[in-house]
């Protein structure tokens, strides 16, 4: 008991319609490096947000015990006072301020409100030394590399007297050398008695640095052990624990029919919008066939969204390569060109990119079809007569069409004049889906279509996807939930660091192999 620096007991946390954490137990010994692994959505971040007070005491059930006493954190300040400091994936540094200013951000060394910069500089040097950084503490953060920025973050945490350091994907943005350096610093800190929770998808790193590991799956602890226990932990064991042996029957049966190629992408390369030299997508080629669901698996930040946003003309940076749709070369520079060419893209950010929250269901469903249907002959059997003529909307027709889609997708609402703001997540997602279906897309790209919606609505969306491909449409399914991809897709592409690392038929390939390719561990082949 006493050798645990902290324990989380029976932590449960609910979001509307979703149980994110289900009686999770998580114990960490003093002075160890404890890895926390699991798939995206397994509950790692939620658990850490509970620990850091970002989800305040009372919004979850269970107990947090630190150094033997139960603690109630209401804010991040509370947890920092208790020595718990989280370093998030996206760095929380103010780029235009100096390293010193960042280290003492919010806890400035001051007397009567006047900052003592001389003392701050001395202190900053001390903490920088601690993390092995030899830079001028007056340098602006923007002028040092990402690797050094990460170390500044750690120095900042140490300056807050952190006893428990939580690192969320610290090496995600680092190159190999910086990563190795960071891991060495962590080992040194461990020798000085700092306890460290290490969250990472990079299992290789976990193997090399962690003393213990806890695996989460679907909001539950599936294993918590030291690296040596149970015959020793291996990468393969971790993967099978993360994925789980059985995939439950939460998916409709897959249709398996695919016809001619409808879209082909050749040598697609995309550059970062700000770091102009950096390639976020490197030489990607793939095809999609009629009646097929193509799954895209990969980590967050692997370039999945960037790839398809750029194909949709919405990424806003330089790209190069060739795209053909129905055998015709297309030049898509704006989303409206994509829509005209039969491409639709349901964004992962439903509220920011998909919906106009303050407006009603009607305006949201016809949002993407106003222009397309304005062209002569744009009306089809599906939509009936044209929605617009000579720039004037046929509102009667608009109401009829909207009602048809509300019924077909079973959107639960008192009326189509309801603001989408007032709908549940699942119904909002159906509104966005209706919007794209109304454009009659040949290829529908779904980016995290079931994120944050409840199980029932998920199943309805799966059924809808099945109906779309059975009717001859094609779907590209991007998802962080590997089971979803494996159960829905006819074919899976894995993407890692902007490259396609494998192409699989889920029926024929063991899950572990696909997971490995998605984690960039080894190249796979069809």
């Amino acid at each position: 008991m006493s050798d645990h620096i902290f324990e989380m007991e029976n932590i449960s946390k609910d979001f509307p319609g979703v149980r994110a954490l289900d009686s999770v137990n998580f114990r960490v010994k003093k002075g160890e490096i404890h890895a926390l692994v699991g798939e995206n959505g397994a509950g790692k971040s939620t658990l850490m947000k509970v620990l850091s007070g970002l989800y305040p005491y009372g919004s979850y059930s269970g107990r947090i015990i630190i150094n033997g006493t139960e603690r109630h954190f209401h804010t991040i300040k509370d947890s920092e006072r208790a020595g718990v400091v989280v370093i998030y994936q996206e760095l929380a540094l103010v780029k235009q301020l100096s390293i010193t200013e960042n280290i003492f951000l919010g806890s400035e060394i001051a007397r009567n409100g006047v900052i003592n910069w001389d003392l701050a500089l001395v202190e900053a040097r001390k903490w920088l030394q601690e993390v092995g950084l030899t830079v001028d503490p007056m340098e602006k953060v923007v002028n040092i590399g990402v690797g050094k920025q990460q170390l500044v973050e750690i120095a900042k945490a140490l300056a807050k007297n952190a006893e428990i350091l939580i690192l969320d994907e610290p090496t995600a943005a680092l190159n190999e050398e910086d990563s190795r350096h960071l891991l060495n610093i962590l080992r040194q800190l461990k020798a000085k008695g700092v306890t460290c929770i290490y969250i990472s998808h990079k299992l290789e790193e976990v193997m090399s640095i962690a003393d213990s590991v806890t695996v989460l799956r679907d909001g539950q602890t599936v294993r918590s052990q030291t690296m040596a226990e149970n015959g020793g932990m291996t990468e393969a064991k971790m993967i099978s624990l993360m994925v789980g042996r059985t995939l439950e029957q939460r998916y409709p049966r897959k249709p398996h029919q695919s016809g001619e190629v409808v879209m082909e992408v050749r040598n697609w390369t995309v550059w970062h919008p700000e770091l102009v030299e950096k390639e976020v997508i490197k030489d990607v080629s793939f095809q999609i066939r009629k009646g097929e669901i193509l799954g895209i698996a990969g980590l967050m930040g692997a370039g999945r969204t960037e790839l398809f946003m750029s194909l949709f003309g919405a990424y806003g940076s330089r790209s190069q390569g060739e795209v053909t749709i129905h055998g015709r070369k297309v030049d898509i520079r704006e989303p409206r060109h994509a829509i005209q060419n039969g491409l639709s893209y349901l964004s992962e950010d439903r509220k920011g990119n998909g919906l106009v929250l303050g407006m009603d269901i009607l305006s949201n469903i016809t949002l993407a079809s106003l222009r397309k249907l304005a062209s002569p002959g744009g009306g089809t059997a599906e939509t009936g007569p044209q929605l617009t003529r000579a720039g004037v909307i046929n509102i009667l027709q608009e109401v009829v069409v909207t009602n048809r889609y509300v019924q077909r997708l079973a959107i639960k609402t008192p009326s189509i004049e309801q603001k989408v703001n007032n709908l549940s997540g699942g119904n909002q997602q159906k509104v966005v889906l209706a919007k794209w279906l109304l454009t009659q897309p040949a290829i529908l790209i779904l980016d995290e279509p079931t994120r944050g919606i409840d199980v029932g609505a998920k199943y309805e969306i799966y059924l809808l996807m099945k109906r779309i491909v059975e009717a001859g449409g094609s779907i590209i399914l991007i998802s962080s939930e590997l089971p979803e991809v494996l159960n829905m897709a006819n074919r899976v592409l894995t993407i890692f660091e902007g490259r396609v690392t494998g192409e699989f038929y889920p029926e024929k390939t063991p899950v572990d192999e696909i997971m490995k390719a998605a984690l960039g561990l080894e190249g796979g082949a069809a």
Partner: protein, 330 residues
């Protein structure tokens, strides 16, 4: 959804009343204001006073109707004062040399061109937020005003200096069609056109969508840059019309007559219930807003409240309207 249905059943009457007050607060305020003033100061209902009100609201109404589109589109236009100054002095000076109709059309074109210039400045500089547009159009306002001063040499121009016919402008300023003033008829026609544009056309819808969520609109194939261009051109054009109505009524044009119109127009639009956040609002609401603002000055005048205090009142009402609007959106 069952909850919503239950909720609606439980307190239907109370909720309906609440909704009415929330949506038509301005109407309620107008009614209260008119009633109180009519009781305290019977002169208010005097036909001469009513005609006066009808003539007074013309210029502000035109500018506010144009401003409505800018605000629904999620932007703002502080340059209307400058546009009024420029259009007024140029148009009045052209009545003699060019004749009435060419002068009128030139005035409207200049208004629209000023709007296009605003849009061009916003789009080329990539200032696609309301705050950036605020500063940018504020700068443009000083430019337009300075051009007006340069053009007029700082002189005020009068109708009586114009030797040729100026009958059309005189009738815009003081003429009547049956019981209605000409400016009121112009208002009705313009309102009908703008209402159709806003509610029935794809461009009108695109403007609301742009104001509601620029990113979602663009990702759905809406040409948001075109929408931004259109709102500023409409606002510029309507401001040009407003300037013409204004100098026709007061029969003079000085390069400073537009002062204060930007605040009054924004006040009218927001008081009417169009949200500054964009995406939601209507030209009909703006009509109510303008009525309230005009009636308020008229009533306060009649009640003998000083002009300075009236300005304070306007500021307070603007703050109140924004506060109410923010509460509504929680």
């Amino acid at each position: 959804m069952a909850e919503i249905a239950m909720h609606m059943g439980r307190n239907r009457v109370a909720r309906a009343a609440q909704a009415f007050f929330r949506d038509y607060l301005v109407l309620v305020m107008i009614a209260a204001l008119v009633t109180i003033t009519a009781i305290v100061e019977p002169k208010f209902l005097n036909p001469r006073n009513l005609t006066n009100i009808m003539r007074q609201f013309g210029p502000l109404m035109m500018v506010s109707l144009g401003m409505t589109f800018v605000i629904i589109g999620g932007f703002i236009d502080l340059s209307v004062a400058g546009i009024i100054n420029l259009v007024a002095v140029v148009t009045i000076s052209l009545i003699g040399p060019l004749g009435q109709i060419p002068a009128l059309l030139t005035g409207m074109v200049i208004g629209a061109a000023c709007g296009a210039l605003n849009a061009a400045a916003i789009l080329t500089s990539g200032a696609l937020t309301q705050a950036e547009a605020l500063f940018l159009t504020f700068g443009m306002s000083t430019v337009f005003s300075a051009l007006a001063l340069l053009y007029s040499g700082g002189m005020t121009m009068h109708f009586w200096d114009i030797k040729t016919s100026k009958s059309m402008f005189e009738s815009i300023g003081a003429g009547s069609v049956g019981p209605f003033s000409v400016s009121f008829v112009i208002f009705l026609v313009v309102l009908l056109l703008l209402w159709i544009f806003q509610t029935k056309t794809t461009e009108g819808r695109a403007i609301s969508l742009t104001g509601g969520n620029k990113t979602a609109a663009r990702l759905s194939g809406i040409r948001i840059l075109r929408s931004i261009f259109v709102i500023y051109v409409v606002c510029g054009l309507m401001t040009g019309v407003g300037a013409i109505v204004l100098f026709s009524r007061i029969t003079t044009a000085a390069p400073v007559i537009g002062a204060g119109y930007e605040t009054n127009a924004i006040l009218s639009v927001v008081v009417g219930g169009t949200t500054l956040k964009g995406g939601k609002g209507s030209v009909l609401r703006t009509v109510m807003g303008v009525l309230l603002v005009i009636l308020m000055s008229n009533c306060l005048d009649l009640l003998g409240v000083s002009t300075y205090l009236q300005v304070v009142t306007k500021g307070a009402i603007l703050i109140l309207a924004i506060w109410l609007d923010n509460r509504k959106q929680v």
